[in-house]
């Protein structure tokens, strides 16, 4: 059994000089006082660490700004939880990430209710134990009843934010609010119509307009062809451009390049900040009103912290803090009183169930079917048609 001295010597950490044995050091030498101070500091840090709550890193992939809910009143930091965010430009990106190694390495994603069902069916999400999310009880009753969140009695996500994808217009050029999506085809708006590179919103709204069906994702292939024929005609004859983002759409509306567009309610606020008057309206046909959720990825490596954050995401403080930044609607009834006037102006919270009944017919839209089901248009049909539309 070698002694400690022999082990150190064998490791090459000792050198002999003039009959003296010296310990080899890496980096500058320390005086005894310096060593003492360093040791005391290290001991203090260790003691401090031992006294703090154990936390970890939670990998979040979702819409930028949604992680703000965890920052309300320094919540995540107080629990010693670090958020590692990756921002998405589309819900499909999170699905791609989960399908390609995300199971067992990602923690939180932010699908809308349509994607929540699909991801749960593809075994990408963990069913949630509601007893570990006390703030679930504070949700507005409408959000607890959504078909695509609770499946077979098991909730797969917490409803986090809701919003409106309305028709937007500039009162300076269009004094009366448009009443129909079909107004975008008026000859006087030629070259002044804005479209967006937001496939689901565009297809959902123009399906509602063309087919008159509020459940716009349950349509036949023939109806889908009809919708895209209309959209392509609109793009070729009326559109100024297809805006890359809603930020760009705000610029286009504010600068007068575009007068009327399929938009998103925060655009009204952002335009106001630029000194422009832009308004939104829900046409008589209805409008797409997505509900974004937060869900736990299958095999989340940090389940305890993830549950803590999911609960914080639907707490009144977390909801109000994030909604006031992102200008979205809240799902926790107690958070409504904490919303700013600007957010309340663009996101009505009086009777959410009645609002959804009018806008969408009740439930938020499911995603288009993944697999062929009779004559129904599938998600692949829609994606292929969207590519043809963008290329046209």
């Amino acid at each position: 059994m070698p002694t400690l001295y022999e082990k150190i010597k064998r490791a090459g950490l000792l050198r002999e000089e003039g009959g003296m044995v010296r310990l080899r050091t890496f980096g500058p030498s320390l005086t005894r006082r310096q060593f003492g101070a360093l040791a005391a500091g290290a001991a203090g840090a260790a003691a401090l660490g031992a006294g703090r709550a154990q936390g970890g890193e939670v990998k979040f992939m979702g819409w930028q700004g949604y992680e703000e809910a965890f920052a309300a009143n320094g919540f995540a930091a107080s629990k010693d939880i670090t958020i590692a965010p990756t921002y998405q430009a589309d819900n499909g990106q999170a699905m791609t990430a989960i399908a390609n190694g995300g199971v067992g390495s990602m923690d939180i994603v932010t699908p809308d209710t349509g994607y929540t069902r699909v991801m749960a069916e593809l075994d990408m999400l963990e069913p949630l134990d509601i007893s570990r999310i006390p703030n679930w009880d504070g949700l507005d009753p409408y959000f607890k009843s959504i078909d695509n969140i609770v499946m077979d009695g098991k909730p797969y996500a917490v409803p986090y934010a809701w919003t409106i994808i309305p028709l937007m217009y500039t009162p300076a050029t269009i004094p009366e609010a448009p009443t129909s999506w079909m107004d975008v085809m008026k000859p006087e708006y030629k070259g002044k119509v804005g479209l967006t590179n937001d496939m689901i919103s565009m297809v959902a709204n123009f399906t509602i307009a063309v087919t008159g069906k509020k459940q716009a994702t349950i349509i036949s292939k023939a109806e889908l062809a009809e919708v895209f024929a209309f959209m392509t005609e609109l793009k070729k004859t009326q559109a100024r451009t297809v805006a890359a983002s809603y930020g760009e759409l705000t610029d286009l509306l504010a600068s007068g390049e575009v007068w009327i567009a399929q938009g998103w309610v925060p655009v009204q606020l952002w335009a106001k900040e630029k000194g422009a008057d832009v308004r939104w309206t829900i046409p008589k046909e209805g409008a797409f009103c997505p509900i974004d959720c937060m869900a736990m990825v299958k095999g989340s490596p940090n389940m305890d912290d993830t549950y803590t954050l999911l609960d914080a995401a639907i707490s009144p403080e977390g909801q109000a803090h994030a909604a006031n930044i992102n200008a979205t609607g809240v799902t926790n009834a107690a958070a409504v009183a904490m919303l700013s006037e600007e957010v309340l102006e663009i996101q009505p919270h009086d009777d959410i169930a009645a609002f959804y009944e009018k806008a969408t017919g009740g439930q938020p839209l499911p995603l288009w079917p993944l697999e062929a089901d009779g004559d129904l248009a599938t998600l692949d049909d829609v994606l292929d048609a969207w590519d043809r539309f963008m290329a046209a």
């Binding site: 430009a89 499909g92 990106q93 791609t96 496939m199 297809v242 007068g256 590519d387 963008m390």
Partner: protein, 282 residues
């Protein structure tokens, strides 16, 4: 000799390892994937040409549009780069290097900044339209300046120009002045000197400038989306969409490899044309 060869090979190893690790291996992976399929959002190994067939049947017109506009931009950019580099090398005297440095400084502006800059210049209330109206040349803004293929060409040419100038200037720097003077003394005309000496010397740099611009442009999807208007989208948008949103890396890979192959063919054609044009005559 053998020892020197061994030493040289050994010295090349780190570079080759980086090339293989960061470029060849990922590329090989995606080449293999381009023969696979996707079912219910998951990759399924296969050996099918279906994705390649889809590229031509479903995205053929977009690919053709992309290659046409990218070739046009690469030609315009290489021509301007040659003119600028020629001026810096032969006309600007001791200010030549400074002018080249100035052109490179514009790279620090960043890609998105240049896009937004051109949006500001070409917009309905932008500098160019305002100037045209102030001069009485137009009665109202010209909508076609922005959100059109013209805007894509202008923006991408501006972005790629500094990158294209560098290889052309590098090639022209290697040209010995005495060769030009000798040709002139022997009675060679200006066009003859230009073709047989200057163009022949710049051929490699011109090809590099053209290739660099072509590849950057053909792969770009942000510029057409931001300034191209409703009908200028290029193949890059659909490649990005296959990888990022549609979970279909086999089709995205096939689209990418077809685009790379087409770009290779275009560059080869240009290279052979330039070689034929500048072939030494007896």
């Amino acid at each position: 000799m053998r020892q020197a060869l061994r030493t040289a090979s050994f010295q090349l190893l780190p570079g080759l390892a980086i090339l293989a690790g960061l470029f060849l291996l990922p590329l090989s992976y995606f080449f293999v994937v381009s023969f696979w399929q996707v079912r219910t959002f998951r990759l399924r190994p296969d050996a099918t040409l279906e994705q390649y067939a889809r590229v031509f049947t479903e995205y053929g017109s977009t690919l053709a549009w992309t290659l046409a506009i990218a070739t046009l931009i690469a030609t315009v950019t290489a021509a301007i780069a040659f003119a600028y580099a020629h001026y810096c090398r032969f006309r600007a005297g001791r200010f030549g290097d400074g002018l080249i440095f100035l052109s490179l400084v514009t790279l620090f502006g960043g890609y998105l900044a240049k896009i937004y800059m051109w949006k500001t210049i070409l917009g309905g209330t932008g500098a160019l339209n305002s100037a045209l109206m102030a001069l009485g040349l137009t009665s109202g803004p010209i909508p076609a300046l922005l959100f059109s293929p013209f805007a894509v060409i202008v923006t991408l040419t501006h972005y790629c120009l500094p990158l294209a100038i560098l290889p052309v200037y590098g090639a022209l720097r290697g040209l010995d002045d005495t060769a030009i003077e000798a040709a002139r003394d022997l009675g060679a005309s200006g066009p003859r000197i230009f073709r047989d000496l200057i163009l022949a010397q710049a051929r490699g740099g011109l090809t590099a400038a053209f290739a660099l611009t072509l590849v950057i442009t053909a792969a770009d999807y942000v510029t057409p989306l931001m300034v191209g208007g409703p009908s200028s989208n290029m193949i890059g948008l659909f490649i990005q969409s296959q990888f990022g949103n549609r979970l279909n890396s086999p089709l995205g890979s096939a689209m990418a490899f077809v685009t790379i192959a087409c770009c290779g063919l275009i560059v080869l054609t240009l290279s052979l044309t330039l070689r034929a044009l500048t072939r030494p005559r007896t």
